[in-house]
Symmetry: C2
Subunit: 257 residues, 2 copies
């Protein structure tokens, strides 16, 4: 079976979606079968891959979690071969309140994925900016975490909370959960702050920190307005080069996993 | 009584905290009595104002919402005269699940503020990046919304969801709720994307859009690591000038409110 990776950080705007979408695209280009599961009510990963959210009849992550639709029926193709998406939806905002009274409230996603038997290499979950029930469902379903950290102070400050939650989840709902890797995003090497944050992150996470650092690159923020990953929008940009390099590191690390 | 402003946008990392902290500071410098209420479990606004979150015995927004401590007992002074903070805490992450079963679950904050009789000019609520129960409490307690919008595509896309929530709240839990203003943040005039987003925001929100645009300025992201608002950290920076200008527009608009 494939590797289920939750892309998570409760700090907002650190590059979770940008990392999910572009890493998924480059892994798929290398021939890996990739599923991107958009667990965020904002559904940014879905629009970043050109999914039309207005098509009412399409099944999505809400159908998977609450209506118990099979994952197979929720998947949609994208402009990238080997990459399918389970789209996000605003309805997920209500899912947290609907899940709250259930016995297995943290395990709904894990249970929903159990029935899926099609082969895949990676299932990447893009999480919302919170540590609420949706993210807890991702932490329960995933085998490993991919943590984007923006090279800024508030983002660094949030790491402690994230680690506390990781340890709690590991002791309670998912003992197998590991940290797959940490990636620095929106890095502007000209600022002292970014260099300081990089130093702090590498000393805290050691080998878990990917060598690849994602630079701040306006092409990455333009691509979603065309519904395209960076591999399609501007393959020669610094942003694309960085995510290609990251995908190579991810492939290497998966072999040793 | 003063104006209760909720600084809200479910999109993460758009500058809610940076706007709350620095606007509050410049309003206080002008002699206004300002309270900053940190409703985010990340508690970034609190650390951005130098509040020591480790001091266990201090009351905070969780005490206010769940333990029914009076707001007066939850307020702490800051390095800026006339500015007090009701600090955020990680415990707020659990508050959403604790509030969910309550009858008045959206009105807990509104009810908690009712008992506060000390005079103030502005009560600014920094919201988390979601439209869950904590943010709904802010939308119920506030008279008006201040909406920061990052000059990026995903942030623009999220505006529709925010407006849907605003209209629902206005029809159900708070008919008085108005849009006080919309401010563009992290604006880099050299990019076409930023200029496009500005055009879209001004045509969508018209007069509600502040003339002041907050530029991307690294000094704004350095200041929180010293626990200082930009008025203290680097009063001459472009970021400080922009938030000073914004505070002037806010004062003018309050007179006509
Ligand atoms: N390396 C980069 N260079 C420039 N812009 C970037 C980069 N990475 C992300 N962005 C832009 O920054 C903004 C925040 O990124 P993104 O939305 O991916 O973060 P997120 O963590 O998924 O946010 P949220 O917490 O709201 O889910 C987006 O507008 C995105 O296009
Ligand atoms: N105008 C600006 N120029 C440069 N950096 C900025 C600016 N405004 C905010 N920042 C930085 O960008 C990051 C995101 O801003 P901030 O944390 O204020 O957003 P937020 O909307 O409060 O995020 P969250 O959704 O996590 O609450 C922070 O690291 C902040 O220091
Ligand atoms: Mg996202
Ligand atoms: Mg914030």
């Amino acid at each position: 079976m494939g590797l289920i990776l939750a892309v998570v950080n409760q700090k907002g705007g650190v590059g979770k979606t940008t990392t999910s979408v572009n890493l998924a695209a480059f892994l798929a280009i290398r021939g890996k079968r990739v599923i991107l599961l958009d667990l965020d009510p904002q559904a940014n990963a879905s629009s970043g891959l050109g999914i039309d959210k207005k098509k009412e009849d399409n099944k999505n992550t809400y159908s998977l979690l609450i209506d118990k639709t099979s994952l197979k029926d929720c998947l949609q193709p994208t402009s990238v071969r080997n990459l399918q998406v389970c789209a996000g939806t605003i309805d997920l905002a209500g899912a947290e309140i609907e899940l709250a009274p259930l016995d297995q409230r943290e395990h709904c996603l894990k249970n929903a994925l159990k029935g899926f038997t099609d082969p895949y290499d990676y299932l990447i979950i893009d999480c919302p900016p919170s540590l609420g029930l949706l993210t807890l469902n991702a932490l329960s379903a995933a085998q490993a975490l991919l943590i984007p950290i923006q090279a800024e102070y508030y983002a660094l400050e949030g790491v402690t909370q994230l680690m506390e939650t990781y340890h709690t989840v590991k002791q309670t709902i998912n003992p197998e959960l590991e940290i797959f890797g940490v990636v620095l995003t929106m890095f502007d090497g000209r600022t002292q702050l970014a260099n300081q944050v990089e130093q702090d992150v590498r000393s805290y996470f050691g080998e878990k920190t990917f060598k690849t650092v994602i630079p701040r690159n306006v092409r990455l923020s333009e691509a979603p307005s065309y519904g395209q990953p960076i591999s399609v929008y501007d393959r020669r940009s610094k942003g694309a080069e960085a995510y290609l390099k990251l995908s190579r590191e991810v492939l290497k690390r998966t072999k040793q996993w």
